[in-house]
Symmetry: C2
Subunit: 135 residues, 2 copies
């Protein structure tokens, strides 16, 4: 843990460990505000901004954009690229893996007259969870 942070080129300070630790404890991406609130008393909100920004640049954290809410952050999952499915009613968020992005990337390049390479993608699903769909 401190190891991971040092490997990324940072000092393993208490605020960084607190943030990193908090992020390992959830599968749900969290906003700056949520993180700052949870770390309140221990870490200043400005520091949360700065840490997230630095972690993002270092590739430790990735930014997730879901409809209608401020950006959220989660630890980068080195194994797979996973995506999110969001309940539009209760805002529940769940991960899912696998997406046809590679194939779609190729198809998009075929369609495009001005693009030459695909390096990344976003893909998120919106729907209703089993609880909300009954209402």
């Amino acid at each position: 843990m401190a190891e991971t942070i040092r490997d990324a080129g940072f000092r393993a300070t208490k605020p960084r460990l607190a943030l990193f630790s908090r992020l390992t404890k959830t599968s749900r991406p969290m906003s700056i505000q949520e993180l700052a609130q949870e770390l309140a008393g221990k870490v200043d909100q400005v520091t949360v901004y700065r840490m997230i920004d630095a972690f993002k640049k270092a590739g430790l954290v990735r930014e997730v954009h879901l409809r209608g809410v401020r950006p959220k952050y989660e630890l980068t999952d080195p194994r797979d690229d996973h995506h999110h499915i969001v309940c539009t009613e209760c805002r529940k968020v769940e991960d899912f893996v696998g997406c046809g992005a590679e194939k779609m990337g190729k198809e998009a390049l075929r369609q495009s007259r001005s693009f030459a390479a695909i390096t990344g993608h976003t893909f998120d699903l919106y729907g209703l969870c089993k609880e909300c769909i009954t209402k």
Copy 2:
């Protein structure tokens, strides 16, 4: 044009016509700031915020989230769901159509233990345009 706005339940005011008209003139989604700047002198920025919000709720406009920038807006295209491919170097944005989202939605539902239906999705590609890839 005024027709479309009235059909959505709004009065066809000059600011609304100006905004709508501007949006029809581009295929590139635009931010509040860009829109306000272009309409400067004619429409107040607060009004841009309010119009975009109302148009969004009415389904005339949709919000597009691309990495690292504030939300952008474009006219809803009722015919197809189109997506965006963004050059990470020069920020060029191009549309592309068709995406395996329906299929992926079904696969995601199969994977999920708590979701029951898919109602929407986002999908965007990032890459390099032909000009930027040479550098």
